[in-house]
């Protein structure tokens, strides 16, 4: 790559532009808007997993002090957009009919929201909710994935279109595995995991007029939410406003609009007041999405000297009985290694559960656990170092799409990662290393995720004092989007970061997609770039028009600011921004620019890659695992905000520790109810579980993917971490745990 690029785009670590607001409590989250005359809604969930509501006795609740309404299918106002089966308009993300809250008496999952109690205070609503008596007609439910795996189906998308990522896939010979010299086969299970962001799902719904709705909503897409609710309530889009200025973590569970949101909107309409509704922690397990429990079987055929012959990968994931949730569990298997023969089978099993939703590293993180564990197992079987085994099957082009990579710098990751973790200390034979009583092991796992990009638009305004203010509807669920965009603008213009503001999280701002799929920097970044360049072009035209000869042939790249002084080709143009605007009788310039994916997407396979290395200690008698060090290596293109990017990697690795060692939403299938559903029982890693995490970025731009050169890294930060730890546990103990999480009981 062009070295000059680095000189110019040398992005420095920057503290979060909104960090102070967040740590001082000044940042306002969706449950923190206190609107005049606001009421509070509390949801009651069903106590059975399948059946119908026989009766709802709400008399006592209605009589309780300051209760405004008890709303259920019996008395809820009609939602105009509720459609007959199969025709719900609002969902681009999953096939099927999203749950229509308070629509009828049917119950299809346990803790399904069935009643909302609305009162003048949260406490009063909560108390009244305990007074509602509900009777059910129970039917036989089905919640157990493994017990019913044989009933799994090919998703409709795969049935309809053989080219769909969910369709059956065969490359090369179907039976190649059977005749491979080395044959390996195993099953892997990933439990249901719940996003559990710090901030609970919350919404404040406000009908500003009969046909004008504003929601302060915890979502990952303000435009998505605007569109969905406009359709649901049969309103023109401009009558619906979604505000999500701050989001306290989401990890994917804000990528879908959930029943509680509609419940709050119904309640607000019904009591004619703004209504705030916050889910409880337990409801975060049942009323929003989760990472589906997934069973996988993988077969790997290889030669004795470590060349892959075939991979067959089969997965079965949970979905609800009303929506078909799918994810790209098998994608990595198709493209990561140079195996001539690959078959994948993706199936889903409709159960009496709420619909799952993408959770960080969606699909790939699940698939990588099986694939990267299996790669380690095969390497062990043929007595090869697992990195050498992977390098022996390195592919210089995408064997799935049959296209060249836009960029792929995984060799750099292998080299740097090995050095940093101390791979030379690793022994091929498991159980050979000790530190006192503890067994020591090293493992690694790779990850990949598409370098996704969507269209995005940014509005930018520059005033004579050099203040640059931008607007875009994108949300920031925590990665530091505002910070990254400010850095891109600063590097493009030379304006200091303190003079740049990026407003986001509001559907009235220019269009952007969802914050999901690691696509934000790749999508909104180019729009920021385009807007900054457009501003520069305006200035060049203005300057040239006023007789500044030097500007007549200048390009946006030639112009930079030194504070408010304009520089051309690195030298002072002896002209300030203020003077130039004054000469033109204006006090600011502005522009709106869209940037969207180009035709390179049809020519190249664009992916971000990661490689995680783990060193673990395992106690041979108590089965406790301590992760002692993690090294994360990422080929994510240009790193525009090194500090927040490193935080992303650290957060992803921490999530990966949870996936590997602690997180498990356990369900008692007799009742179809979760039993680990608070933060005491559902274990996310705590500080003591998280060691030093060392982050390395290749930091080479991918200018084919987008003009910023970024490939995205939110997902690859977690993809491959769990197998790295599981592989390290095997290296330490010789025990292979194929069902996560690896808790002490599985190792003794």
């Amino acid at each position: 790559m062009n070295e000059a690029f680095f000189d110019k785009k040398d992005y420095k670590p920057l503290d979060r532009v909104d960090g102070r607001l967040k740590v001082t409590g000044a940042a306002k989250y969706s449950a923190e808007y206190a609107l005049p005359n606001m009421a509070y809604a509390v949801l009651i969930g069903s106590r059975i997993a399948k059946g119908t509501i026989k009766s709802i006795d709400s008399k006592a609740a209605e009589r309780a002090p300051d209760v405004l309404a008890v709303i259920s299918y019996v008395n809820a106002i009609k939602v105009p957009g509720y459609q007959p089966k199969g025709k719900h308009p609002s969902e681009p993300s999953t096939q099927g009919q999203p749950l229509r809250v308070f629509f009828d008496n049917k119950i299809v999952s346990n803790d399904q929201p069935i009643v909302a109690v609305v009162a003048t205070s949260f406490e009063k609503a909560r108390h009244a909710a305990t007074l509602v008596k509900i009777q059910y007609n129970k039917e036989q439910h089905m919640t157990d994935l493994e017990a019913n795996a044989a009933k799994a189906v090919l998703p409709a998308s795969g049935k309809k279109n053989p080219k769909s990522p969910t369709a059956d896939y065969d490359r090369g010979e179907k039976n190649a595995f059977e005749s491979a010299p080395v044959k390996f086969e195993a099953e892997y299970v990933l439990p249901t995991e719940v996003h559990n962001p710090m901030e609970l799902q919350s919404i404040t719904a406000h009908w500003e007029a009969d046909d004008k709705l504003t929601v302060y909503d915890k979502v990952q897409g303000t435009k998505m939410t605007q569109k969905n609710f406009a359709k649901e309530w049969n309103l023109p889009e401009e009558n619906v406003k979604c505000i999500a200025t701050f989001v306290g973590g989401a990890f994917g569970n804000g990528l879908h609009n959930w029943p509680h949101e509609t419940a709050a909107i119904i309640a607000a309409k019904q009591v004619k007041r703004p209504v705030k509704l916050v889910l409880t922690r337990e409801q975060m397990f049942t009323m929003v999405g989760y990472r589906p429990r997934t069973w996988q079987k993988i077969q790997v055929g290889a030669t004795k000297d470590g060349k892959l012959v075939a991979i067959n990968h089969h997965s079965v994931g949970q979905t609800s009985s009303y929506e078909e949730f799918t994810e790209s569990t098998l994608q990595q298997t198709r493209m990561m290694y140079a195996s001539p023969n690959v078959s994948t089978r993706y199936r889903i099993l409709p159960l009496n559960l709420a619909t799952p939703i993408w959770m960080r590293g969606p699909g790939e993180a699940t698939g990588a656990f099986a694939l990267e564990s299996a790669m380690d197992e095969v390497a062990h079987e043929i007595g090869m170092d697992p990195i050498d085994f992977r390098l022996a099957n390195y592919t210089e082009s995408d064997p799935d799409k049959n296209m060249p990579w836009s960029t792929k710098y995984m060799r750099e990751c292998y080299e740097e990662g090995k050095k940093r973790i101390g791979w030379e200390n690793r022994k091929l034979k498991p159980g050979s290393l000790r530190d006192g009583e503890w067994l020591v092991g090293y493992g690694m796992g790779t990850g990949t995720f598409g370098a996704n990009r969507n269209a995005a638009t940014v509005h930018a305004e520059l005033d004579s004092d050099g203040n640059l203010v931008m607007h875009c509807a994108i949300t920031d669920i925590g990665p530091g989007t505002g910070t990254a965009m400010v850095q891109i603008a600063s590097n493009t213009t030379g304006l200091p970061t303190e003079k740049i503001t990026f407003h986001l999280g509001n559907s009235t701002f220019p269009n952007a997609g969802l914050q999901g799929g690691s696509s934000t920097v790749n999508s909104v970044g180019p729009a920021v770039l385009a807007a900054c360049n457009a501003l520069k072009e305006q200035l060049i035209t203005m300057a040239a028009g006023k007789g500044n000869a030097a500007f007549t042939s200048a390009k946006p790249d030639d112009l930079m600011f030194d504070k408010t002084e304009i520089q051309l080709g690195g030298k002072s143009a002896k002209l300030t921004l203020g003077d130039l605007l004054k000469q033109n009788n204006i006090d600011k310039i502005e522009t709106t620019n869209e940037s969207k994916p180009d035709e390179n997407r049809n020519k190249y396979s664009m992916n971000a890659f990661s490689m995680h290395f783990a060193m673990v200690h395992v106690h041979p008698f108590t089965g406790q695992v301590r992760v002692k060090k993690i090294v994360c290596c990422a080929d994510a293109g240009t790193i525009v905000s090194p500090k927040t990017a490193a935080s992303q990697m650290i957060g992803g690795a921490t999530g990966g520790i949870g996936m590997a060692l602690t997180e498990d939403a356990m369900m008692d299938h007799r009742f179809g109810r979760y039993i680990t559903k608070d933060l005491a029982d559902y274990h996310v890693p705590v500080h003591a579980d998280v060691p030093e995490i060392d982050v390395y970025f290749v930091n080479k731009p991918d200018l084919l993917a987008d003009p910023v050169g970024s490939k995205g890294l939110g997902e690859i930060a977690i993809i491959g971490v769990a197998p790295a730890i599981a592989n390290a546990v095997f290296n330490a103990t010789g025990k292979r745990i194929r069902e996560l999480p690896i808790t002490p009981d599985k190792l003794i």
């Binding site: 205070s121 909560r126 680990t676 274990h683």
Partner: protein
């Protein structure tokens, strides 16, 4: 809002009379357990008697025993110099419990009275004899990974979740309680009870009694004491199995031993036979294995907690090795 009476008292006497004539009145101390249970609708007291102002926070040494006030905070006890020096086992056990924030609120009395963490007990949509006598035990045929292997009944297989209490039972503590008729002392081992036919009763404290203090007799176990807790994450999780081990050494020989287990029974589980087996023996791994074997006699596992039959003795051995300075 659920209406309840709230009364703040400044003396133990007022506290006790605050409970009079109301079987649904409860003391509230740190609130770290009671408030959670109220929020989950597991319990709904009609009156709360706030005892935080009652002056029972002192930790004193006199007449051959250490006395700890019932309202001393878990963190204050754990960090107390006297406790660290004389009863390090207790300090270690306290620090192995909950989180720093919770320990800063939780009291000694509240810790003893905390209720089981059995998930069926916490979810009012599920059966639980402890919460609702006669409704059945959800855990018996359910997900009983966290449950007891000793002293269970077919009515309840829950465990007592405290770490502090495991150290206290090992140290032969006694509990000073006061009621309308005055004070009495309960040996720690008799404070908590087994579920039997009345799983709703966690302990032998009477409805109108208050815990005043805990007393630990002077002992020679402070040189060789170790609390080991194995859990699902490195901190902030309840024990799968924990062991309080303390040895009074005479050179390389064990003069006297104390051993108790957590995460295995409805009460802190003292292992007296194993203690006897240790006395007079050399402090070796072999000795510890033998004692662990004895300790596990009578253990009975359920569908998902069979691992405790293996983890239990391993943790006993490891705790003893650490206490003896063998690792």
């Amino acid at each position: 809002m659920i209406q309840f009476q709230y009364e703040r008292v400044t003396t133990a006497k007022a506290a006790i009379s605050g409970l009079a004539n109301n079987s649904n009145a409860r003391f509230i101390a740190g609130g770290t357990n009671l408030v959670d249970l109220m929020k989950r609708n597991v319990t709904a007291p009609t009156k709360l008697v706030d005892i935080n102002m009652v002056p029972l926070k002192d930790i004193q040494q006199q007449n051959g025993k250490t006395s700890i006030g019932a309202l001393a905070l878990n963190s204050a006890v754990a960090d107390n110099k006297l406790i660290i020096e004389k009863h390090p086992l207790l300090s270690q056990a306290l620090n192995a419990g909950a989180s720093a924030q919770i320990r800063n609120m939780a009291t000694v009395g509240g810790n003893m009275m905390q209720r089981t963490r059995c998930p069926y007990f916490y979810d009012t949509a599920l059966p639980c004899n402890k919460r609702e006598p006669g409704s059945g035990c959800g855990a018996l045929q359910g997900l009983n990974r966290m449950h007891a292997i000793f002293g269970t009944s077919d009515k309840c297989i829950a465990v007592h979740p405290s770490d502090m209490c495991i150290a206290l039972v090992a140290l032969d503590a006694s509990v000073v309680v006061a009621g309308p008729k005055g004070e009495r002392r309960i040996p720690f081992e008799e404070f908590h009870r087994l579920p039997g036919n009345q799983p709703e009763k966690d302990n032998t404290l009477q409805n109108n009694e208050m815990i005043i203090s805990v007393e630990i007799p002077d002992n020679a176990f402070n040189k060789n004491a170790h609390y080991m807790k194995v859990r699902d994450r490195a901190s902030y999780a309840f024990a799968l199995v924990s062991v309080a081990a303390a040895l009074h050494m005479d050179g390389k020989v064990i003069k006297e031993a104390r051993l108790a287990m957590g995460g295995v029974a409805h009460k802190p589980w003292r292992l007296k036979e194993a203690e006897q087996a240790l006395a007079g023996k050399p402090a070796t791994e072999e000795t510890f294995r033998q004692a662990a074997k004895i300790a596990m006699q009578g253990a009975k596992a359920f569908k998902y907690n069979a691992f405790k039959l293996k983890l239990g003795p391993n943790v006993i051995v490891e705790a003893l090795k650490n206490a003896a300075g063998l690792v």
